[in-house]
Symmetry: C2
Subunit: 202 residues, 2 copies
């Protein structure tokens, strides 16, 4: 957490860390306040409810991702298909580092929340879905360029992009169940093998 952040940001950072490291239901407001060194009064001044905090955490992490190593991985300067490997690598190193610190693989915050709360909270579910949609857009763009450059045979870029993101989430899930980041390294690169053919329009 390091340098001085104002109260709201400290709450956000604490909640993000705790939600990601454990789960939504398992982390209470009290614990978030303790980690953020903030009192309950301050908390509810900035966030009217736990649900709204969750939304803020999702947006916050989504932004960090989008401007952080996702942006790096999907850098237009890289050959399109290499971006996928870059992305897998980034996820691998990230999860590995997290495990070294916490002892457990936290997995993907969005995937975690999606499975945990999307049957109970339609609003959060929709927000998470939007995050996935946006992420799959990156894959989509990369695939389109790969096709245009002739790096891969034509395929249904939209569907394949979604499938690739789903695969990445699945690999992270599996790695978390094994508590072993190496799973990401060994299974991850196969993301490039996934293909959904263009729908036959005759």
């Amino acid at each position: 957490m390091g340098i001085e952040l104002d109260t709201k940001d400290r709450i956000l950072a604490a909640a993000r860390e705790l939600f990601h490291g454990r789960s939504y239901a398992d982390v209470g407001i009290k614990e978030i306040c303790a980690l953020a060194k903030v009192q309950k009064g301050s908390f509810y001044h900035f966030f009217p409810s736990k649900q709204i905090l969750a939304m803020a955490v999702i947006d916050n992490m989504s932004d960090d991702w989008a401007n952080g190593f996702v942006a790096e991985a999907f850098d237009e300067k890289l050959p399109p298909m290499e971006r996928l490997d870059y992305m897998v690598d980034a996820v691998y190193y990230w999860q590995k580092a997290a495990k070294n610190v916490e002892g457990r693989m936290p997995g993907c915050l969005f995937g975690n929340l999606a499975l945990e709360v999307s049957t109970r909270d339609e609003v959060i579910r929709a927000r998470l879905n939007a995050v996935f949609e946006k992420a799959s857009g990156r894959f989509h763009k990369a695939l389109e360029q790969a096709v245009n450059l002739g790096d891969i045979l034509p395929l249904d870029t939209q569907a394949t992009a979604t499938a690739m993101l789903a695969y990445l989430e699945g690999v992270i899930l599996f790695a978390k169940a094994r508590n072993d980041p190496e799973v990401i390294r060994s299974l991850g690169p196969a993301i490039k093998s996934i293909r959904i053919e263009v729908k036959h329009t005759s």
Copy 2:
């Protein structure tokens, strides 16, 4: 639930339904008892803790799967690669039916639990991992046969089997986030495109 079950089975069935439909943390013992029409005393007579109940639920569902449509899907009489399609189809129809009843896609109980509790409960995590391991064995066998029959080019059957299971989980996750079973139908069949080459031993 239907026909008379003895107390323990009623508890198990109720817990399974509730855990699957919502989440582990969100469902309390009281609610399980209410659905099972059982009192707390009886509950704790059969299950010493919620954690142990969770394990029993996992085992119970794992058995049902293994002897139910997973056994059907991976029937040795089917051509190996067709088993994968069968499996995807089964998941699709199951989730669709569940959504029609409950209004929401429950996803995969094992995947849900894996992401929710595996950072908190090492014992449950290990159990879930064993379930995944067993399931990936089915894929493995099918792939080995497919290679032997010349239906597909040789590949790392072990790693690819795991990757395929991970993909399936990822697709279910994505479908749950969208609350749309059709995702399974459109992305699922691409499971057959996943390939991990045999490690180059020179």
